[in-house]
């Protein structure tokens, strides 16, 4: 039995590896949505390596838990997680954004194992998750459904249509996670379209709301446990995060949303994330300029 401390250390390490993959994928392919990918590294680590019921050898197993990345542009982190979990091959990661790659710039159902829904047009994932959660109930299956939404995305009316429905139908097999990284594309969420009082709003819509530091593995483990134990209500986990977390030169800025990295920025970031000189040299040598 691994100790609690070892487990936490392992999940933190995986989160760090997810960040490294994301930086390499985006840094080397020329451009990508980095800020909202790295802000959810711990959330994905805890979901895929602690919380969710999955069988990497059978990604389409009927009884698997489902995860939908509603803010699809963050998918480099999801692809990295799927590779870490053994659901897609690791050597697929460098094909990010290539025309014939299953790793498109927004995730597509049917071309990449482990992707449960096509997203990219914001606002639709929670509704799709509701469909899956209802389907589970009708088929008397006990799988759970997790949907990750963005704070900027939360301005979409459909998010609130879905929230109202899930509350009304008391879908306790559904958990939404809000990556509250404080920035959308053009600026601060607080200025673009503020969400507060966020917890009050979701509670009024019939949801159980848990607030947590989205970069704390321990906090997230606890939050997901509370969500699982809650009966008769869906849960929203409000995860306070930092956009661009781990890419220090753009951390906590709107410009982290979509970035191209120079060779120096790529090398410096990988160094800060603890990569070896050889690993960094290799990444820089395969880096492509964004045309």
């Amino acid at each position: 039995m691994e100790s609690e401390m070892e487990k936490i250390r392992k999940l933190e390490e995986i989160a760090n590896r997810i960040r490294i993959h994301v930086v390499k994928m985006i840094g080397c392919s020329g451009i990508g949505h980095a800020g909202g990918a790295v802000s959810m590294a711990e959330i994905l680590s805890v979901l895929y390596f602690q919380e969710m019921r999955l069988d990497p050898l059978r990604p389409d197993w009927d009884d698997r838990d489902r995860f939908i990345l509603s803010k699809g542009h963050g998918c480099p982190a999801l692809y990295a997680t799927l590779a870490e979990a053994g659901i897609i091959p690791m050597d697929l990661l460098p094909t990010l954004h290539e025309t014939e790659s299953p790793l498109q710039m927004h995730p597509e159902l049917g071309i990449c194992p482990g992707i449960e829904m096509s997203t990219g047009a914001l606002g639709q994932g929670l509704s799709a998750g509701i469909g899956m959660a209802l389907g589970a109930q009708w088929k008397r299956k006990d799988f759970r459904v997790y949907v990750l939404i963005g704070d900027g995305e939360s301005a979409e009316g459909q998010v609130w249509e879905a929230a109202m429905f899930a509350g009304h139908r008391r879908l306790d097999n559904l958990t939404a996670i809000l990556d509250y990284n404080r920035f959308s594309l053009t600026g601060r969420v607080e200025k673009v379209m503020p969400l507060e009082p966020l917890s009050d709003k979701w509670t009024a819509f019939g949801w159980h709301v848990v607030r947590v530091d989205g970069h704390s593995v321990t906090g997230l483990i606890q939050a997901f446990r509370l969500a699982r134990e809650e009966k008769g209500r869906p849960t929203l986990i409000v995860a306070d995060t930092i956009k661009g977390r781990g890419i220090s030169y753009v951390e906590n800025t709107a410009s982290s949303h979509s970035i191209s990295m120079t060779a120096t920025e790529l090398a410096g970031t990988l160094r800060e994330l603890g990569c070896s000189p050889g690993e960094i040299e290799h990444a820089v040598s395969v880096r492509k300029e964004y045309r």
């Binding site: 954004h97 995305e153 379209m193």
Partner: protein, 320 residues
């Protein structure tokens, strides 16, 4: 290449100039102004700029309401989300009551950075063109974009503008004035007519040069006014060349090819070949990768035209 402008480069400045002349101009944005470069307007006229957040449907109906109080509204976001996401709001709140809302769509067709299928707009011309009261335009270059925006500010009624993302040469003459239902002949020719618009024009023009080097004179017409379409230009092309090729940065269903086919079928018999995205979804990739993947490079267009004309075609033959 260096000093070429993209149509989107002139959006912010032109909207500022229009608002300086006309206090009824208002601009709405759905969390995209940094990419559309409308930030210049936001910073100059914060009181006439509305940031709605990522809520395209809300934005369209809101613009409709604002226009009823006497404002000329420019509502802007990605083409795909103007048309697909807010389709019914555009129809019921804007087109049906015939309100003074100008929709500015960015990221036209396949050229959306590397964003891929969800962000590519291969349906928007078809969607917008099929709504009564709606004028649909894709200005060709930065200069025509300024003209189209000026027209939009002066004329009442709904309009959809599809704005290219990337730089291209100036094609329209300096003294050009945009008129809906008009077109510009960029190159004369009597063997075949290439009708096109927007960011594929460089490919179309160099295909025409390639054809010319083989003795085939291709007329090239910029059909920026997608609705109303310049019927006279289509009829003239039919009459004078007998063979028309359309080039769409859009699905072949619903785009310029469809619009031209409608004119030909009812009013001007001619042979037609539609080049465009052949009823498949897009992919991630650079513009160059998209051109190759969807057979829209100059060479592809030239080959397609020669195939259309047939092996026995000799320049100067009467249309047959």
């Amino acid at each position: 290449m260096e000093n070429q402008l993209a149509p989107r480069d002139v959006l912010g400045q032109t909207l500022i100039e229009l608002a300086e002349e006309d206090s009824s101009i208002a601009v709405l944005d759905a969390d995209f102004c940094t990419a559309s470069k409308i930030t210049a307007f936001r910073d100059r006229f914060p009181d006439r700029f509305i940031q709605v957040g990522i809520a395209e449907q809300n934005m369209m109906s809101m613009a409709a309401g604002l226009s009823t109080v006497g404002f000329t509204c420019f509502a802007s976001t990605i083409c795909a989300f103007c048309s697909r996401r807010a389709c019914d709001q555009v129809m019921t709140s804007i087109a049906l009551p015939n309100l003074n809302v100008k929709i500015i769509g960015l990221y036209a067709g396949l050229f959306v950075g590397k964003n891929g299928a969800s962000h590519q707009s291969l349906e928007d011309i078809g969607i917008m063109r099929s709504m009564a009261n709606m004028t649909v335009v894709q200005p060709l270059d930065a200069r025509e974009t300024i003209q189209v925006l000026r027209y939009a500010a002066r004329h009442r009624g709904p309009m959809y503008m599809r704005i290219g993302r990337d730089p291209l040469p100036q094609y329209v003459p300096d003294d050009y004035v945009f008129r809906p239902g008009g077109s510009i002949t960029l190159r004369p020719g009597g063997d075949v007519a290439l009708l096109a618009y927007g960011d594929l024009m460089p490919q179309v023009m160099s295909a025409a040069e390639g054809l010319a080097s083989k003795g085939i004179q291709a007329r090239v017409v910029n059909m920026s006014s997608l609705k109303p379409i310049d019927e006279e230009a289509v009829r003239a092309a039919a009459r004078e060349t007998g063979r028309i090729v359309t080039v769409d940065n859009h699905n072949i269903f619903g785009g310029l090819g469809s619009a031209v086919a409608e004119v030909i079928a009812e009013k001007a018999p001619a042979r037609l070949r539609r080049i465009g995205v052949r009823d498949v979804f897009g992919k991630s990739g650079t513009n160059a990768e998209m051109l190759a993947r969807f057979h829209l490079r100059a060479d592809d267009i030239e080959k397609e035209v020669r195939d259309f004309l047939g092996p026995r075609f000799h320049a100067g033959n009467a249309p047959g």
